[in-house]
């Protein structure tokens, strides 16, 4: 990324290349592993000889990785906030449907209380109070492992469960040597499951495993540093 900051003018060099330089969009698609096979061949052959495009591809790699990590973190926080709002609305709605004015009154009190709690919780999510949020998606590419800091007192895991059954799933976090660190159960909703690990994690590599009836369904990797 240093080159992105430096500007390209200083990096011009003679390259014995026979093809036009790939565009930024093409390099980005290649970097994300989303270029077609023909395009991949063309870009790889070009980059093999073109120092200028090697630097550009490095920039693209770094930008894509950073973008993934950063959108990841923001999405996890937004998911958590939405989930808590959703829960509050569900409870208030259920009480209201019970019908009698007394219950409606009670529902209003409960809703206000929950709303206040949600407000407090949301503040906790959006301000740095020591909870780290991490958005875990099933990635195809390597080198995109989400990273959080080890100074967080708890970790909010937001797991992508698209394609998995919407039933209660076991979630286990294991350290890099396979030893279990934390376990619980989650119920996926709207292709996402949230779990809050109420403990700090030491620096290292971790794997978060989702399983149903002892069958491993999905595994996500993340790193604490």
């Amino acid at each position: 990324m240093a080159n992105l900051f430096k500007g390209k003018e200083g990096d011009l060099r003679d390259s014995p290349v026979f093809e036009p330089h790939p565009t930024d969009d093409e390099l980005e698609m290649y970097s994300m592993g989303r270029a077609s096979e023909l395009e991949t061949i063309r870009i790889e052959e070009h980059v093999l000889l073109c120092g200028y495009c090697q630097d550009r591809l490095q920039d693209a790699d770094e930008f894509v990785a950073l973008m993934k990590d950063t959108t990841n973190e923001i999405a996890a926080r937004e998911d958590a906030a939405l989930d808590k709002q959703g829960r509050a609305r569900t409870v208030a709605g259920a009480v209201e449907r019970m019908g009698t004015p007394v219950i409606t009154g009670l529902a209003a009190i409960v809703a206000v209380t929950i709303g206040f709690a949600v407000y407090q919780n949301q503040r906790a999510v959006s301000t740095p109070t020591g909870e780290a949020a991490i958005h875990l998606v099933a990635n195809r590419g390597a080198g995109m492992t989400p990273v959080i800091g080890s100074n967080a007192s708890s970790v909010l895991l937001s797991m992508d469960t698209s394609g998995l059954p919407e039933e209660r799933l076991a979630v286990v976090v294991v350290a890099e040597d396979g030893s279990p660190v934390w376990a619980s159960q989650v119920e996926p909703r709207n292709n996402r499951a949230l779990a809050s690990v109420r403990q700090s994690l030491r620096a290292g590599q971790y794997f978060c495993r989702l399983s149903s009836k002892s069958v491993l369904l999905r595994e996500f990797a993340f790193r604490v540093q």
Binding site: L4, F5, K8, V47, L48, E73, I74
Partner: protein, 244 residues
């Protein structure tokens, strides 16, 4: 030096800033300041043929030229795919495979030298990954734990990465929620551009511009940060010198 916190205050002031209205380079065409790639002259491919012939005949300067042309690219690919461990050895091994293959006459279309080198590099990468997987499998039974390279960078690299992530966070917070959603869907969820454009009522140009502007803004913030750091260092040196 502009602290990240100052930057955050600044970003609060320009919340939901419209990056669409700023001029930016078109990312769908090669950069305007890119060096001109050599034109595909009819004689250019003949150079490959001649070079291959020289290597086939065992001429040392032919091998030297091949090394000069490809060593940086080979090194770059291997490093990108396998990391920096034992990189020199891997480059050397790959180069030997290429030279031996040419000497043995395995390259039947010399004008396709670039594609040939690329194929060999890819095979070397695949073979290396196979070896690592096999080693790991073999060592599981021994229960001694296989040695793997530490994927973390140095403390300096980690700090730089953290700063870059903070800058990008600033860029993303400057965007409207809708623009942020577009970038999240593209980069994080890897949804196809066509689908995002269709569902969010965007033209291809609007989509590309949003990406380009976010990138340009990130580069601009990074440059400012670098400049302020250079000034900060200069200031510190000057004040240290004035004390002596």
């Amino acid at each position: 030096m502009m602290a990240i916190d100052d930057a955050k205050t600044a970003d609060a002031a320009c919340e939901d800033r419209d990056l669409m209205s700023e001029p930016v380079e078109d990312s769908s065409v090669p950069p305007a300041h890119a060096p001109e790639p050599a034109a595909p002259e009819p004689g250019a491919l003949q150079e490959w043929v001649r070079l291959v012939a020289r290597i086939h005949n065992g001429e040392a300067d032919g091998m030297e030229e091949l090394y000069k042309l490809f060593s940086r690219g080979i090194r770059y690919y291997l490093c990108r795919q396998l990391g920096p461990q034992e990189l020199d050895d891997k480059v050397h091994d790959t180069f030997l495979v290429v030279v031996n293959a040419i000497k043995n006459g395995d390259l039947r279309e010399p004008e396709r030298l670039m594609g040939f080198v690329r194929t060999i590099v890819r095979r070397q990468i695949a073979a290396h990954i196979d070896r690592v997987v096999q080693d790991r499998r073999d060592q599981t039974d021994l229960d001694t734990g296989s040695k793997i390279a530490d994927p973390r960078g140095s403390p300096e690299q980690t700090a730089i990465q953290r700063e870059k992530a903070d800058l990008l966070k600033q860029v993303l917070h400057e965007l409207s929620g809708r623009d942020r959603e577009i970038l999240t869907r593209f980069y994080l969820h890897e949804e196809p551009q066509e689908l995002i454009c269709e569902e969010m009522g965007l033209s291809d140009t609007q989509f590309r511009l949003l990406k380009s502007r976010a990138k340009a803004r990130f580069g601009e913030l990074g440059k400012k940060k670098l400049a302020s750091r250079t000034l900060g260092t200069l200031f510190m040196r000057t004040s240290a010198a004035s004390k002596h």
